[in-house]
């Protein structure tokens, strides 16, 4: 069959690029995500310029708006065994990271039309939280809403995470939210008309120290109380679920077959499409520059495309939330922390669940496309909006992964990248009204698991906002708790 290939690694045709443009995705980063071009073994070496030339010819973009998608190391596929050969001094914090992210996207990428002069609700942040909230508001009849996003859809943590979704948590609140979210994810394609490829292959947690093993055992009991079918595994059972898994040093393992992995990007597109169909404006490449307040209320949100007068403002900017809050004089306890992640060459299916070592935060799973996707937190990571990649991470990760899966040494890493967790002192979110600015609503602080919580949190928040009925979620996780000292810590954080 005659075809014109533009990215032959991923079998993306020139027609696919035109299709993406027709769906509203015309900046290079979005076209890459929508079509998959440049995500294969060669990482765009052969196709990137050709795609840009096509976007230019089709007048989908002006030349000045054409930027290459961020080139991620390694430049050529590199074996895990080679990367693992570097010793890392874990007692010192990581320094550096490449490449530097763009501080500001080129102004030529901004939408040309004006922003509405006023709106009932302005949501700052077009990640999964903001878009899911806007969509849920529309379901309840509120469509006078504007969503502001500084980059393309998927530019922040919502587009950078590993796609894990799980019900195995350490607090009742999170277990219940996750349960509801996964239920909503299961019918997302039906509701939104876009596939998100939820694959419920389970989460397999391992614990190595006595204290962590006891915590895991305690949490399993809590999961069962909430109807989550988590069970403790014997070594043999764990090996049966993941052939080739080393359990040397493992003291306990737990498994919930209903946890799984999803493909993050289409969630954002699905919610954004849903919003737009309802008449909600989703404004990409638009920066918030300040606020106008009076009498304890936010009156206007200022942007680099004009001001919007509004009744309610929702801060849903993830790791950028403290920066934005500062513009209006609010100090959030949140801190951004880089978390690095990588993806390997695609292989035929061999790994069903997401596997995680709770002690180190190592996690890895196999995506629908066949890549091993995984990360591992770094206890020494300093606070800051750093989204660069380090050799330190790929080395640490490769060592940790090969310790669990010794047969994968020849598997090659294709790219590494990073995103920022939005970390709070008790690992729980910041929700509800802001003391002193009653119409500024908080929706941040999800510590790396916002993606999987968003459908349920947004549903509850839209209900709370539109009905005025009280909901304990927005009192429990209110900013006040940090002054009042009523903290309930979530202890199942990984990555």
């Amino acid at each position: 069959m005659s075809k014109t290939l533009i990215c032959s690694c991923e079998d993306v045709t020139a027609e696919d690029i035109r299709h993406a443009v027709s769906r509203g995705y015309s900046d290079v980063e979005s076209v890459k995500r929508f079509t998959g071009f440049g995500t294969g073994i060669c990482q765009g070496k052969g196709c990137l310029s050709a795609v840009a030339a096509l976007l230019c010819k089709e007048k989908a973009q002006k030349p000045a708006s054409l930027l290459p998608f961020t080139p991620r190391p390694p430049l050529y596929p590199t074996e895990l065994s080679v990367l693992a050969s570097m010793k890392v001094d874990e007692s010192k914090p990581p320094v550096g990271g490449v490449p530097e992210e763009l501080a500001v996207f080129p102004p030529t990428l901004r939408p040309e039309g004006p922003l509405p002069a006023k709106a009932k609700v302005v949501i700052i942040g077009g990640g999964i939280m903001g878009l899911a909230l806007a969509y849920n508001l529309s379901l309840r009849g509120e469509t006078d809403v504007v969503v502001l996003e500084r980059g393309y859809l998927c530019a922040g943590a919502s587009g950078r995470n590993g796609g894990g979704v799980r019900m195995q948590w350490g607090t009742s609140a999170n277990i219940e939210l996750a349960k509801r979210s996964i239920e909503l994810m299961g019918r997302f394609a039906r509701d939104m008309g876009i596939n998100v490829w939820l694959r419920q292959g389970g989460y397999l947690f391992m614990a190595r120290t006595k204290a962590v093993a006891e915590r895991l055992e305690r949490n399993v009991a809590l999961h069962n109380k909430h109807g989550v079918p988590t069970r403790l595994l014997t070594v043999d059972e764990a090996r049966e679920i993941v052939p080739g898994l080393s359990l040397a040093g493992a003291r306990a393992a737990s498994y919930n077959p209903e946890d799984g992995v999803i493909f993050p990007w289409p969630f954002l597109w699905g919610y954004a499409n849903g919003c737009r169909k309802a008449g909600i404006k989703v404004e990409t490449f638009t920066n918030v520059t300040g606020f106008e307040t009076s009498d304890g209320l936010v009156r206007k949100v200022k942007t680099d495309r004009g001001d919007i007068a509004c009744d309610t403002v929702v801060l849903a900017s993830g790791a950028w939330s403290p920066e934005i809050a500062k513009m209006v004089g609010v100090k959030l306890p949140n801190e951004p922390h880089r978390h690095e992640i990588l993806s390997t060459e695609p292989l035929k299916p061999f790994l069903s669940p997401l596997v995680s070592v709770l002690d180190s935060g190592l996690y890895f799973s196999q995506s629908m496309r066949g890549e091993i996707v995984g990360g591992m937190g770094d206890a020494k990571e300093p606070a800051g909006l750093n989204m660069g990649s380090t050799l330190r991470f790929v080395s640490r990760f490769s060592q940790a992964l090969l310790e669990q899966m010794p047969d994968l040494g020849h598997v090659k890493v294709l790219r590494q990248w990073a995103g920022c967790y939005d970390v709070t002192p008790d690992n729980n979110p910041v929700l509800g009204r802001t003391p002193g600015l009653e119409n500024l609503l908080q929706m941040s602080g999800f510590v790396g698991h916002g993606f999987m919580m968003a459908p349920a949190v947004a549903e509850r928040m839209a209900g709370w906002m539109t009905t005025g009925e009280s909901d304990e979620l927005f009192t429990r996780f209110n900013l006040r708790r940090f002054q009042e000292g009523k903290l309930e810590r979530e202890d199942m954080i990984i990555g």
């Binding site: 060669c42 052969g46 080679v82 050969s85 010793k87 008309g193 596939n195 990649s389």
Partner: protein
């Protein structure tokens, strides 16, 4: 493709095991080169549509030649030297790459498939599709065995780290050597010279330089730079060096980085541009000049001086040139006879190229028989390391490529980072060499504390 009849023996004759069949090869030659020289043009099936694939770029910049080699999946056979008894398997095909039942997917979706919307929300169908998609996805099976223990990482320090030993890199190395500035040059290939050694010869190109002309120990070949990182000790290149002891990771700290990596052979979008037998122009010249492997009859398509230089190289060595189609034109004076301006190129053939067609200046379709289509266009600058190092990259509308922004002396937005040659946009080898020389001189001038 065939071996040129008068080609001198370039290595020991050996055999490889291709899915149980014994095929001849030349020791040390890229596996993919030996395979196409024996007429094995289909090396794999593509990831989604299961289209036949054979090597295209011979540069590690596509994925057409990936095979399972000695139990390791997704190995670039264009970059793997042949060794006697090597076990080769084609991937992503059932029952075989020559007759693959999943090719039906290609026919079933003539206009492509939108995996975002296909069966979205359709009860049962979406579940079935998810299961089928998971089984069909991925390329290659798990490695058959664990990797060997790797040598511990080696840390090197030098004043100047040079990436790429082509025209620009060698000219720069010569300046650094003559001024007594210590440097390390990393070249991904097993030989120096880049297009000076493997491209279509350009009339005014400088001579390639032998490593022996440079200070001993300053040149590392088969050394692939995988990143320009930084850490508490400063900026460094991460390099994977392939030596007798296996693969070894190097960390190379330097005061200055001079990036002359050239460019990647790009895909040119036209119908059936992925058909086995379609080769990048630079691949064709490499095969001809270094390994004595060439098409019987070739159709050339592209633009710029490389198109005509390649046509001359092919004709000189006995390849019949069936067409030279310049997609931009006009055809310059002195071009080989028969060269013409045209458009809408298309490769023809079932599982490999058997013909080529295009629309000529008067709007007529012209078709020629050939066993190879050679795509000679400017390379796509390899800007990745420069961008990682903080240099600016812009789209050059006229050349249709992303290129690193630098001043005439190769200075970039990053103080310690210089660039020269094709990485700033496609130019001739002579110009690239002049760039390299100038950048090295500017770089030396920026060094503090004298030369050492």
């Amino acid at each position: 493709m065939r071996r040129l009849p008068d080609a001198a023996a370039r290595g020991k004759s050996i055999t490889l095991d291709l899915e149980g069949e014994t095929v001849p090869a030349v020791e040390g030659e890229p596996v993919a080169c030996s395979l196409i020289a024996t007429g094995e043009s289909v090396l794999a099936r593509s990831i989604k549509y299961h289209r036949a694939r054979g090597p295209y770029c011979f540069s590690g910049a596509c994925s057409h030649c990936l095979m399972r080699v000695d139990g390791v999946p997704n190995v670039y056979t264009c970059r793997t030297p042949a060794r006697a008894g090597m076990k080769l398997e084609r991937q992503n095909a059932y029952p075989s790459a020559k007759v693959d039942v999943f090719e039906a997917i290609d026919w079933f979706f003539p206009n492509g498939l939108d995996h975002h919307e296909m069966f979205a929300g359709v009860p049962v169908a979406e579940q079935v599709m998810a299961k089928v998609a998971r089984q069909l996805a991925g390329l290659g099976l798990l490695p058959a065995s664990p990797a060997p223990e790797r040598m511990p990482v080696q840390t090197l320090r030098t004043r100047v780290a040079l990436v790429g030993g082509g025209a620009a890199g060698l000219a720069a190395a010569r300046v650094l050597a003559s001024q007594g500035v210590s440097f390390l040059l990393f070249e991904r290939e097993g030989f120096l010279g880049g297009r000076l050694a493997a491209g279509a010869p350009e009339p005014d190109a400088p001579k390639a330089l032998d490593a022996s002309a440079l200070p001993s120990g300053s040149v590392r070949t088969r050394a692939t730079v995988i990143g320009l990182y930084d850490d508490e000790a400063g900026r460094f290149l991460a390099v994977v060096a392939d030596g007798p002891e296996g693969l070894r990771l190097l960390k190379v700290y330097a005061e200055r980085f001079l990036l002359t990596p050239g460019g990647h052979p790009p895909m040119l979008p036209f119908e059936n541009n992925d058909l086995p037998g379609v080769y990048a122009g630079r691949a064709a010249s490499l095969l001809m000049r270094r390994y004595g492997v060439a098409p019987e009859v070739a159709a050339l398509v592209g633009w710029g001086p490389e198109l005509y230089a390649l046509a001359r190289l092919m004709e000189e060595h006995g390849t019949k040139v069936a067409a030279v189609v310049d997609l931009k034109g006009p055809v310059p004076s002195g071009a080989p006879a028969g060269a013409t301006q045209g458009g809408e190129p298309k490769a023809h053939g079932r599982n490999e190229v058997s013909g080529f067609s295009y629309t000529n200046a008067s709007g007529k379709r012209v078709k020629v028989d050939c066993d190879a289509v050679l795509v000679a266009v400017a390379t796509s600058p390899s800007f990745e390391l420069a961008r990682q190092g903080g240099a600016k990259v812009e789209f050059d509308e006229a050349r249709e490529v992303f290129a690193v922004v630098a001043d005439a002396d190769g200075r970039t937005e990053a103080k310690d980072l210089y660039v020269a040659g094709d990485v700033t946009g496609g130019r001739s080898a002579a110009e690239a060499a002049a760039d390299g020389k100038r950048a090295a001189e500017a770089l030396v001038g920026s060094l503090t504390g004298g030369q050492s």
